[in-house]
C-alpha cells in the first residue's frame, strides 16, 4: 500500500447524509474481478443519465449535467466532504476502490459506517471524522468558492491559508498509513502465537476443526 503523509486537494462538497456503498459503486460493477479501474463508475447512478455496466465504454455514456462532480470546476476534486454515516450498507471494498481510483485521497464527514471506515485504511484512503460544526464550516466555505485544503497526517491537521483544524485518529491506523504497512506481514510475525492458540482450541473445541467435505 502507498504510504499517506500529506495531501493537498480541492474539496468536493456532497451535502447528503447516509451516502451508501450502493450509491458510491452500484452492484453491476462488483462483477469485475480486478482491484483497480473503478474510478469511471464512482457514483454511477448520479453521474450518468443512462445506465451502464462493466462493458459499456464511458465515452458513449451521457453525463448528468446537474451532478456537480461532472462540472469542470469540480472534476479534479480529491477531498470528499459529506454528512453523517458515510459509507453505510454493503461491505463492498469496491466502493473504496472507486473513490481511490477516481482520485479521492481523503473523505471528511461527521461519522462513517464501520466496515467502510475500516476498508479505507487498507487502501490508503484517509477517512476523517470531524465535529458537525467543522463540517458545517467546510460546507459553507466550499459552497461559496473553490476550496483547497491540505491534510497532514503527521500533525493530524487540516489547513487552508486562513483556517486550521485538528483531527483525531487512532494511533495504529495512523502509523499504518504513514508507513504504508502490509498488515498480513505484521500479523504473520505472530504466527507462533496463533498456532499455539489454535492447538489449545483444537483440544477444547474439536468440532471447530472438522473437515467440511
Amino acid at each position: 500500500m502507498k504510504p499517506f503523509t500529506q495531501h493537498t486537494g480541492q474539496v468536493y462538497p456532497f451535502d447528503r447524509a447516509n451516502i451508501d456503498t450502493d450509491a458510491i459503486l452500484p452492484k453491476q460493477y462488483l462483477k469485475s474481478i480486478r482491484k483497480f479501474g473503478y474510478g469511471d463508475w464512482l457514483f454511477d447512478d448520479l453521474r450518468y443519465l443512462d445506465g451502464g455496466d462493466v462493458t459499456t465504454p464511458v465515452s458513449e455514456r451521457r453525463k448528468n449535467p446537474d451532478f456537480l462532480l461532472n462540472h469542470a470546476d469540480y472534476a479534479a476534486s480529491s477531498v470528499l466532504l459529506a454528512r453523517d454515516n458515510f459509507g453505510c450498507g454493503s461491505s463492498r471494498e469496491h466502493a473504496v476502490w472507486a473513490l481511490r481510483d477516481y482520485g479521492f485521497a481523503v473523505v471528511l464527514a461527521p461519522s462513517f459506517a464501520d466496515i467502510f471506515y475500516n476498508n479505507c485504511f487498507k487502501n490508503g484512503l484517509l477517512p476523517i471524522a470531524l465535529p458537525n460544526e467543522t463540517i458545517d464550516e467546510l460546507f459553507a466555505m466550499s459552497q461559496s468558492e473553490k476550496l483547497f485544503v491540505t491534510v497532514d497526517l503527521q500533525t493530524q491537521s487540516i489547513f487552508t491559508e486562513t483556517h486550521q483544524w485538528h483531527f483525531d485518529i487512532d494511533e495504529s491506523r495512523r502509523q499504518n498509513l504513514l508507513e504504508g504497512l502490509d498488515e498480513i506481514s505484521v500479523t504473520l510475525k505472530d504466527a507462533d502465537t496463533i498456532h499455539a492458540f489454535e492447538d489449545k482450541l483444537k483440544q477444547a473445541e474439536p468440532w471447530v476443526f472438522q473437515n467440511i467435505l
Binding site: 447528503r16 447524509a17 447516509n18 451508501d20 450502493d22 450509491a23 452500484p26 452492484k27 453491476q28 462488483l30 462483477k31 469485475s32 474481478i33 480486478r34 482491484k35 447512478d45 445506465g51 455496466d53 462493466v54 462493458t55 453523517d84 454515516n85 453505510c88 450498507g89 454493503s90 461491505s91 463492498r92 471494498e93 469496491h94 461519522s111 459506517a113 464501520d114 466496515i115 475500516n118 476498508n119 487498507k122 487502501n123 487512532d170 494511533e171 495504529s172 498488515e183 498480513i184 500479523t187 504473520l188 505472530d190 504466527a191 502465537t193 496463533i194 492458540f197 489454535e198 482450541l201 473445541e205 474439536p206 468440532w207 471447530v208 476443526f209 472438522q210 473437515n211 467440511i212 467435505l213
Partner: protein, 473 residues
C-alpha cells in the same frame, strides 16, 4: 471472581489470541464463508505474495450474489452474462487451486452464504464467523460472533486465520412482551431501526434480549440479527437457549456423541451474566409493534402498514431535506396512506427472509388465491438448494406457483440485482430483502421492505394490506 460479562465480552475473550498495545486485538476466526463477489481480489493477493490459506477446513465457499435463478442445471457454462460467468468461474478456479471446500453451483447445498452455513452446522454457537458480506451479522442468532469484512480483510483471514479488531461497545435492545398476530421478526427489526436510526449501532455490537426475542424461532432470530448492520452495528447477537440447541442438533457439521455433550455444556454459558454492563440500552414493547413497511430510501424510513407516509410537518428538522428527497425518489406524497401504494413486483428471498419458515408463511397467505393482475412479476427465491427441496417436499412450490408466483433456484437474486432479476425505472416492489437504497434492486427501482407474509398479501391485493387483519392467517 471476574466481573459480570456480556455475551459479546465472552465471545470476544474466547477467541482473543493477542491484545496489541495499540488497543486492537488479534481475533481467531473459526469459520470463513467465501463467495464470488468479494474474494477474487483476495485470492489474487495471496497468489501475488506466494501465500496459502492458513486453514482450509475453516473455509466454505459458494457462489450466490451473481448467479442466475433459472436454468441452473446448465451449471457455470449456462450463465449467459459474460462478466458474471467469469466471476463464478474464478471462484471455482480459486477453490480448486487453493483446495478450498466449495458448494458449487450444481450442489444441492449451494445457496446464500448466510442460509447455507447455519443449515449445515457450519455456524455453531460460540464461533467467530466472517464473510466478505455485511449481512454476516446473521450468524449472531446462534450466539456466535459474525462480522462482515471487506476484501482486504478476506485476504487477511485467508492468510492468517485472524482478524485485527478493536472491541466494539455493548448495545442492548430489549423487546418485552408478546408479538401480536401477523407481527414477525422482520417487523420487529424494521420497527427498531425506525426508532433508533441507521447509525445508532455504529461502533457497537447489538445484543437483542427480552421475551419477544426469545420467543422467535432460529429463522426469526437470523432475520433479526441479519439487519443489525442496517442499524449500523457490525454484529448482532441473541443468547443461546433451548431453541438454539434444538436447531443445531444433528446438523451435518454439528458435534456428535460425547463432543455434543461437551459442546452443549460450554454453549449453555453463552449468555450475558446478570449485572453485565451495557454501554447503551434501548427498551421496546412488543405490543407497540405492528406489521411494518418502509416507504423511503433508508431502512429507518419505516412506518406501520396502517400509517401514512410522514407529513412534512412531522419530520425532524435535521432530516427533513433527506426525507423529502426520499419521498420524491419514491414517487410518494407526504401523508399518503401506505395501503394506497400500488405495487409492480414482489420479491420474496434474500439472506434476510428466504428460509423454510419464510416460504411457509408465503404459502399460507397465498393458498387458493392468485396475484393481482397489476403485479408484473412475483418471485420466490429460496435461500438454498436444501430449502428449495424441503419446500417442494412439503408441496409449497405448487401452492406458490398456482397463485401466480415464479419459483426459482437459490441465490441473492433481486435483493441486489446483480443477476437478471431486477426492478425497472419507477417500479414499486414489496420486498423481503434488507436494503431500500436508491437503485439497489435495479436502476430507478423503488423498494418497500416488508415481512414475507406482508409481501405475499401485497401480491394478492396489488397493494399493501394489514396482514394482522387478514383471515388467512
Amino acid at each position: 471472581m471476574t466481573s459480570p460479562r456480556t455475551l459479546y465480552d465472552k465471545l470476544w475473550d474466547r477467541r482473543c489470541v493477542k491484545q496489541n498495545e495499540d488497543g486492537t486485538s488479534l481475533i481467531y476466526i473459526d469459520r470463513h464463508i467465501v463467495h464470488e463477489v468479494s474474494s477474487a481480489q483476495a485470492f489474487e493477493g495471496l497468489k501475488a505474495a506466494g501465500r496459502k490459506p492458513w486453514r482450509t477446513s475453516a473455509i466454505i465457499a459458494t457462489p450466490d450474489h451473481n448467479v442466475p435463478t433459472t436454468e441452473r442445471e446448465k451449471g457455470i457454462d449456462g450463465i449467459t452474462d459474460d462478466t458474471s460467468r467469469i466471476q463464478v468461474k474464478t471462484l471455482d478456479d480459486n477453490c480448486n487451486a487453493f483446495e478450498v471446500p466449495q458448494f458449487a453451483l450444481k450442489d444441492k447445498r449451494q445457496g446464500i452464504v448466510h442460509v447455507i452455513a447455519p443449515e449445515q452446522g457450519l455456524t455453531l454457537p460460540g464461533m467467530t464467523v466472517v464473510c466478505g458480506d455485511s449481512h454476516t451479522a446473521t450468524h449472531g442468532a446462534f450466539a456466535a460472533l459474525g462480522v462482515g469484512i471487506g476484501t482486504s480483510e478476506v485476504e487477511h483471514v485467508l492468510a492468517t486465520q485472524c482478524l485485527i479488531q478493536r472491541k466494539a461497545k455493548n448495545l442492548r435492545i430489549d423487546v418485552s412482551g408478546q408479538l401480536g398476530r401477523g407481527v414477525t421478526a422482520k417487523d420487529v427489526v424494521l420497527y427498531i431501526i425506525s426508532q433508533i436510526g441507521t447509525a445508532a449501532g455504529t461502533g457497537c455490537t447489538i445484543e437483542f434480549t427480552g421475551d419477544a426475542i426469545y420467543s422467535l424461532s432460529m429463522e426469526g432470530r437470523m432475520t433479526l440479527c441479519n439487519m443489525a448492520i442496517e442499524a449500523g452495528a457490525r454484529a448482532g447477537l441473541v443468547a443461546y437457549d433451548a431453541t438454539t440447541e434444538a436447531y443445531v442438533k444433528d446438523r451435518p457439521l454439528a458435534p456428535k456423541g460425547a463432543d455434543w455433550d461437551k459442546a452443549v455444556a460450554m454453549w449453555r454459558k453463552l449468555k450475558s451474566d446478570d449485572g453485565a454492563k451495557f454501554d447503551i440500552d434501548y427498551f421496546f414493547k412488543a405490543e407497540d409493534i405492528r406489521p411494518q413497511v418502509s416507504w423511503g430510501t433508508s431502512p429507518e424510513m419505516v412506518v406501520a402498514v396502517d400509517a401514512t407516509v410522514p407529513t412534512v410537518a412531522s419530520l425532524p428538522e435535521n432530516k427533513s431535506a433527506d426525507y423529502q428527497k426520499a419521498m420524491q425518489y419514491m414517487g410518494l406524497e407526504p401523508g399518503q396512506p401506505i395501503t394506497s401504494i400500488q405495487l409492480d413486483r414482489v420479491f420474496v428471498g434474500s439472506c434476510t427472509n428466504s428460509r423454510i419458515e419464510d416460504i411457509r408463511a408465503v404459502a399460507e397467505v397465498v393458498k387458493g388465491k392468485h396475484i393481482a393482475p397489476t403485479i408484473k412479476q412475483a418471485l420466490v427465491v429460496p435461500g438454498s438448494g436444501l430449502v428449495k427441496q424441503q419446500a417442494e417436499d412439503e408441496g409449497l412450490d405448487k401452492v406458490i406457483t398456482a397463485a401466480g408466483f415464479e419459483w426459482r433456484s437459490p441465490g441473492c437474486s433481486m435483493c441486489l440485482a446483480m443477476n437478471a432479476d431486477r426492478l425497472y425505472e419507477g417500479e414499486h416492489c414489496a420486498s423481503t430483502s434488507n436494503r431500500n437504497f436508491e437503485s439497489r434492486q435495479g436502476s430507478g427501482g423503488r423498494t418497500h421492505l416488508v415481512s414475507p407474509a406482508m409481501a405475499a398479501a401485497a401480491a394478492i391485493n396489488g397493494h399493501f394490506v394489514d396482514i394482522s387483519k387478514e383471515a388467512a392467517l
